[in-house]
């Protein structure tokens, strides 16, 4: 200490686990929670809504119109509005991000279900699937690749958007950026960017892996095509 500012590694090591609320480790955990929960919520909400939109087509236009407006709302004022409802908690960040996710996932679910070829749906009816089993065992599995592609977009954008929450004190790793802003010092910014990008890569990688495990026929088809 004392001879100049600490190096990146030194700074990281010193701040990784201080036991305080602003230790990098805590910020990372918060970040994961605040980006993972909205993705799950978005999927849980978008699936039934997407199914409804695919089933009753007239619902789709108004729903996607509304969702596009939601998606267009800048996140910061939405966070601020949310404070009056949920206070300065993680929920304030989680709820708007879940809405963004829903906006992306509803079209993904509808497109996914549209990707089920008509003759496949017909033959599922003809061999005696009940409507529920047809949905669960034929239509959703075939829609899965498109839904998973949407999920990848939602996961990565959530991870990135969480940091905006730092402006209301709930931004996970975003907290590292506001700290640097107050006191010009580069290591926190670099650590923040690297960790967020790494988090996004890991999340995306896990989803790609899930896609391969859940939809082995898609990969086999791609290999056959190349």
């Amino acid at each position: 200490m004392g001879d100049g500012p600490p190096s990146l590694w030194e700074w990281f090591g010193r701040n990784w686990d201080t036991g305080r609320a602003d230790s990098i480790r805590t910020l990372l955990t918060d970040h994961v929670t605040m980006s993972f929960v909205p993705v799950v919520l978005a999927l849980v909400v978008a699936l039934p809504l997407g199914l409804a939109c695919a089933r009753w087509r007239w619902l789709y236009q108004p729903t996607s119109g509304l969702m596009n407006i939601v998606y267009a709302l800048p996140s910061l004022p939405v966070f601020m509005l949310m404070i009056s409802v949920t206070g300065l908690s993680q929920t304030t960040v989680i709820v708007p991000l879940a809405f963004y996710g829903v906006a992306v996932l509803i079209p993904a679910v509808v497109d996914g279900l549209d990707s089920v070829p008509d003759h496949v749906r017909q033959s599922a009816v003809a061999v005696g699937f009940t409507p529920l089993r047809r949905l669960l065992q034929v239509e959703l599995p075939i829609a899965a690749p498109v839904v998973l592609a949407g999920l990848r977009v939602v996961a990565v954008s959530s991870i990135s958007l969480v940091s905006v929450g730092a402006l209301i004190g709930q931004g996970g790793l975003g907290g590292l950026f506001t700290r640097a802003y107050q006191n010009p010092f580069m290591p926190p910014v670099i650590v923040g960017i690297v960790l967020i990008v790494a988090l996004a890569l890991v999340a995306d990688g896990l989803l790609v892996l899930a896609q391969r495990l859940l939809t082995p026929w898609v990969r086999a088809r791609k290999e056959a095509a190349s």
Partner: protein, 335 residues
């Protein structure tokens, strides 16, 4: 659909044929309630289908559609086992049954672990047939199952269906727009006109011989006369056995044409009295199995004007001369 009434006899293939818009697919889908008839009744073994819960009804009726409609996310073996799974069979039993059917429809068991897109169109269609047969339903509905594959594959699929049917004796209702397919496959053929009205229901032979009206006549197309011959047996064709000579012999004969036969009794070629040094091509038909159409075709393939009758092993059983063919033809036409 207007006032369509017909019966598909148990164990027979009934073909619905007609131009597009004649309601043939609609009729088929009324049988398994994919479309509900607004009026009228459909009886399955005497029971009205309207009274049966659709999924239950459909699991008891095999269904094959044009593009096979296989489930892209399921392996071939699981595609075939679809209905057994729906009926709650255990996985092992359902898969064993699927493997049995895979072979039955003439596919390599090694395909079991593939996905549908890895198969050719013809193979997919065979899988479609296997899937329809998996739970051994007494009734099979086939909606233009072979119209999306090329003609050579189509012919082999049709032959395969007839072979399967000779073993299984299902009650089949088959929809097609192809009259040749209808005539080849149908025990009975129902010709429908636009609007779903029945123009004629008859066995193929009667259909070709006595079309009910101009619509049916036109739908049957040209060379109806020639096609009729495929229902005339060669059983009664009179054969001459004195026109064959063994290979190597050059015995003098007053006949203008002699059939040279090898040591195993198989035909080698025609020897003409004019140019005994050269052998001319011949055409054969299997006596009793092939039709008069094949016999006539064989005669037209050879400059001798005669066709060679062989047995199932390909050995010559005699020669049908032009006179014999002539006589058989006139009997066929004039009864």
């Amino acid at each position: 659909m207007d006032d369509l009434s017909f019966e598909a006899p148990t164990g027979e293939i009934t073909v619905l044929v007609g131009p597009s818009g004649c309601g043939k697919t609609t009729s088929l889908r009324m049988i398994n309630r994919m479309i509900d008839a607004s009026e009228g009744r459909i009886l399955l073994d005497g029971v009205p289908v309207q009274g049966i819960d659709p999924p239950t009804l459909r699991r008891g009726i095999g269904y094959v559609i044009q593009q096979a409609g296989l489930f892209p996310h399921r392996k071939i073996v699981d595609n075939i086992a679809t209905v057994p799974y729906l009926l709650g069979w255990d996985r092992k039993k359902a898969r064993a049954r699927a493997m049995e059917l895979l072979e039955r429809v003439g596919l390599d068991p090694a395909l079991a672990g593939r996905y549908p897109f890895q198969l050719s169109g013809g193979q997919q269609q065979r899988v479609g047939v296997a899937r329809a047969l998996a739970a051994d339903p007494p009734v099979l509905l086939m909606d233009e199952p072979f119209s999306a594959v090329d003609p050579i594959v189509r012919t082999s699929l049709q032959d395969e269906l007839l072979r399967l049917q000779s073993e299984l004796n299902k009650t089949i209702v088959f929809v097609t727009h192809d009259i040749d397919e209808a005539i080849k496959l149908g025990d009975r053929v129902a010709v429908l006109r636009v609007g779903g009205r029945l123009a004629q229901l008859a066995d193929p032979k009667t259909l070709l011989a006595e079309p009910a009206d101009d619509f049916v006549r036109e739908f049957l197309g040209h060379d109806r006369g020639i096609r009729r011959l495929q229902f005339v047996s060669t059983e009664g064709l009179r054969l001459r056995t004195d026109l064959t000579v063994p290979e190597g012999s050059d015995g003098g004969s007053p006949e203008p044409w002699l059939l040279v036969v090898d040591g195993d009794g198989r035909p080698v070629g025609w020897r003409s009295a004019v140019r005994p040094g050269e052998l001319e091509p011949y055409g054969t038909f299997v006596r009793g199995r092939d039709s008069m159409r094949a016999a006539l075709d064989a005669a037209l393939l050879s400059p001798s004007g005669c066709s060679v009758a062989v047995d199932e092993q390909g050995k010559v059983v005699g020669v049908a001369t032009r006179d014999a063919l002539d006589r058989a033809l006139s009997e066929a036409v004039h009864g």
